[in-house]
């Protein structure tokens, strides 16, 4: 497991190409995966699949008061092809399920999914004839956020947890893709 030591991190605001390192030297030593994970975790571009009430709380997270840009996630993309974090905010119905599936498939790897709210996680209190009982029926989920709707703090916590897992290499997704490719019949 690669953990970037504080002294090996680039100085704030400096780019890897510029003078970095503790004493103004122009190199740093780290592992490639660590560097990539560091970049990925701090630039999660969310695609808000906002269907219902949770979408309004997602707006709160994006608005100045909670300001998700503090976590590098303010670049909200409405095209799945430009996003790497799918936030499913709200109830997904059976009518919508194929749409969600398609959007997930359109996102480039590596990609992560946060299921925001109980409806997306389990169908919530809609045990009903038209409601998908959790989006994990159709797509893989990395983080489940309970609440109806979750508070903005909860969603921010979910993003932070995801960042931790990406940094630690657990959720790099490369391993999952490799495994899936290996399992495919030639």
């Amino acid at each position: 497991m690669a953990v970037i030591k504080r002294e090996t991190l680039p100085a704030h605001g400096a780019s890897p190409a510029g003078p970095i390192g503790p004493s103004g030297t122009d190199y740093l030593t780290t592992r490639l995966e660590t560097m990539v994970a560091w970049a990925r975790r701090n630039s999660l571009w969310p695609f808000p699949f906002a269907t219902a009430c949770c979408g309004i709380e997602f707006m709160s997270v994006a608005a100045p008061h909670y300001d998700v840009s503090r976590f590098g996630s303010e670049v909200i993309r409405f095209s799945p092809r430009q996003a790497d974090l799918l936030i499913v905010a709200g109830t997904v119905t059976d009518k919508l399920a194929p749409v969600l599936r398609k959007i997930y498939e359109q996102m480039p790897e590596p990609k992560w999914v946060i299921s925001m709210g109980v409806c997306a996680s389990s169908g919530g209190f809609y045990r009903a004839y038209h409601v998908t009982q959790g989006i994990d029926e159709i797509i893989p989920v990395d983080i489940y956020v309970p609440g109806c709707p979750p508070t903005p703090e909860q969603l921010i916590y979910a993003i932070m947890r995801l960042q931790e897992e990406i940094a630690s290499g657990k959720k790099s997704r490369d391993s999952r893709s490799a495994k899936a490719a290996a399992e495919q019949p030639a």
């Binding site: 608005a63 004839y129 409601v131």
Partner: protein
């Protein structure tokens, strides 16, 4: 029930009965007096009755509000298994009527269309077809509306299990017939058909528009909804009266409080109870704050769609500030579940009034900022003025209410037309615009926020510092916890209410209030159980969305985006 069983009529019902007796419908339509004057006709006479009720100079029920089905399978004393119920309103006379249409054939229920009389009936009839399987001969586009296209059966029938789902795949999607044909003409570019949504930044939630474009102009469009159909009406049938309240919050989740107030008012009227002044004032104050929140999101999101990003942050800050107040009252920010039948869940905090006053001071500043940035901004004017025009006649024919109707020059506001709570005691105005375009709707909403502030200010002046917020009818309201622990009787009331629910007298009732989007009505049917037998919600943005495909024809795609923003579609309320 027929006239013979209820011979004593008075007021509007008596006048209506006399008018019908002298008409060609004499002998075929009977009038009864319920909470509303109720006309009962056979299905074959329904279009003629509708035409009469709309055109007769002494009826003039010009606004078509609602049409929905009822399944009487488990209800005693009804003549037929299925019936349809319509609500009509007369804008000129301020009165309304209910039309009951019992459908005699339980195997193949059928009701002729009234889209020729009331264009607004279009989607309501499709919904009946979807939910109850009523055939609607003559309907121009009879397909499922809310449930997906691979759905089997009719979900709101009483013999349909609430949890029965059906598998739906992408191939099952029904493309409208007209969209599958190409439209080629000599010497003309071929038109193209595009799909806007279901997941599109401008659709605010999940709405699907199939549009045929000629260049950049839309020549034909059809809106697909139901992507957020969460089965509110079926779910409410499986819960106690109080258990429905969390579901109502998730109808229009942008102004959740108003839905709850509308719902519990219906139940309270059925029970015949009044709640104390303090409780009603809390409901009024929080409803008006919710209206401000709703308009803030509507305007903010609309401006984002047309490129004015800054305003959203100003307007959204109001929401955050109001959330603080609501969170202090009930512990939740968005979906409040604060009202209960007979009052409120808990009393407001001690600093309720100072908190409200602080908000009254802060909100106008944000509104002023937005007005300065936007109202005379040339780009905004070019985008909004003259686009998405709805004339007065169209607005009425399409059954629009709320800011949509008022922006087309009709000063109909439920709070003024049929004041509830304290709205008749306050001094406030109903803002209207005469242009009927997107800019008119923007102006109406801005002014409504200021009027809401005015209402709240007056409500705070008469707000009693102390006193109960709940009714003391322990058959309805949970007794205080302290009493439950210490006296047997209260414990029994508590047990009965929690286990069995409130016993609402047998009957039905329609109550309506002014939601943020227009008339929000709840039609509840009780058979004396602890929960509703049937609960119909009249969603205000349903007719607006039905009209959308007509409004945008002839305009450009970018106008359609601006128009969708000013309609203020809330998918939870639209699809239920």
């Amino acid at each position: 029930m027929t006239v013979a069983e209820a011979p004593v009529l008075s007021g509007p019902a008596e006048k209506l009965a006399a008018r019908l007796a002298g008409s060609p419908l004499s002998g075929r339509a009977s009038v009864a007096e319920r909470d509303l004057p109720t006309v009962e006709v056979e299905p074959a006479d329904w279009p003629e009755t509708a035409r009469f009720l709309r055109d007769d100079p002494e009826c003039r029920y010009d606004l078509f509000l609602d049409l929905f089905g009822v399944d009487n399978l488990k209800r005693r004393g009804q003549r037929t298994r299925f019936e349809a119920i319509a609500h009509l309103h007369s804008l000129s006379r301020g009165e309304r009527v209910r039309v009951r249409i019992p459908l005699p054939d339980p195997e193949k229920p059928s009701i002729p269309t009234v889209t020729g009389v009331y264009p607004a009936a279009d989607w309501f009839e499709r919904e009946m077809y979807d939910m109850y399987g009523f055939d609607v001969p003559g309907h121009p586009n009879l397909h499922r509306l809310l449930c997906h296209d691979a759905f089997v059966g009719h979900a709101l029938r009483k013999d349909y299990a609430p949890g029965q789902r059906w598998f739906y795949a992408e191939e099952d999607f029904r493309m409208p017939d007209w969209a599958r044909e190409t439209d080629e003409r000599a010497g003309h570019f071929e038109t193209q058909t595009i799909s806007i949504g279901p997941s599109h930044p401008a659709t605010h939630g999940i709405i699907h528009i199939i549009a045929r474009l000629d260049g950049e102009r839309i020549v034909r469009a059809e809106t697909m909804i139901g992507y957020l159909h969460r089965c509110f009406e079926k779910m409410s049938e499986t819960h106690h009266w109080n258990g429905v309240i969390p579901y109502t919050d998730r109808l229009n989740y942008v102004s959740a409080m108003i839905n709850g107030v509308g719902y519990v008012r219906t139940v309270e009227k059925m029970l015949g109870i009044e709640i104390p002044e303090r409780g009603r004032l809390v409901r009024t104050i929080l409803s008006e704050f919710s209206r401000i929140m709703d308009h803030c999101v509507c305007i903010g999101a609309n401006l984002v769609d047309i490129g004015a990003l800054t305003n959203f942050t100003y307007l959204y800050q109001n929401r955050e500030n109001i959330y603080d107040l609501i969170e202090a009252c009930c512990g939740a920010r968005l979906t409040v579940s604060y009202v209960r039948v007979g009052g409120l869940a808990i009393d407001v905090p001690d600093d309720f009034v100072p908190r409200c006053r602080k908000l009254l001071d802060s909100i106008p500043g944000f509104l002023d900022d937005v007005e300065k940035l936007v109202t005379n901004n040339r780009i905004v004017r070019n985008r909004l003025a003259g686009t998405g025009v709805v004339s007065r006649e169209q607005a009425i024919a399409w059954g629009l209410t709320g800011p949509m109707l008022r922006a087309s020059g009709v000063p109909y506001d439920v709070r003024r037309a049929r004041p509830y709570d304290f709205y008749d005691k306050f001094d406030w105005d109903v803002p209207i615009a005469t242009t009927g375009d997107n800019f008119g709707r923007y102006l109406v909403r801005m002014e409504e926020m200021r009027q809401s502030l005015k209402i709240i200010r007056q409500a705070l002046e008469i707000f009693p510092a102390r006193g109960p917020v709940n009714s003391d009818d322990w058959h309805v309201v949970l007794p205080p916890k302290d009493a439950v622990y210490h006296d047997m009787e209260s414990l029994i009331y508590h047990f009965k209410l929690v286990m069995e629910g409130i016993r609402v007298p047998v009957g039905e009732r329609y109550e309506w209030i002014e939601g943020a989007n227009g008339e929000l009505g709840f039609h509840a049917i009780s058979i004396g159980r602890g929960g509703p037998y049937r609960l119909r919600v009249r969603p205000p943005c349903f007719p607006s969305m039905a009209a959308f495909e007509k409004i945008i024809v002839g305009g450009t795609v970018s106008d359609a985006v601006a128009t969708l923003g000013t309609l203020n579609i809330i998918a939870g309320e639209l699809d239920r």
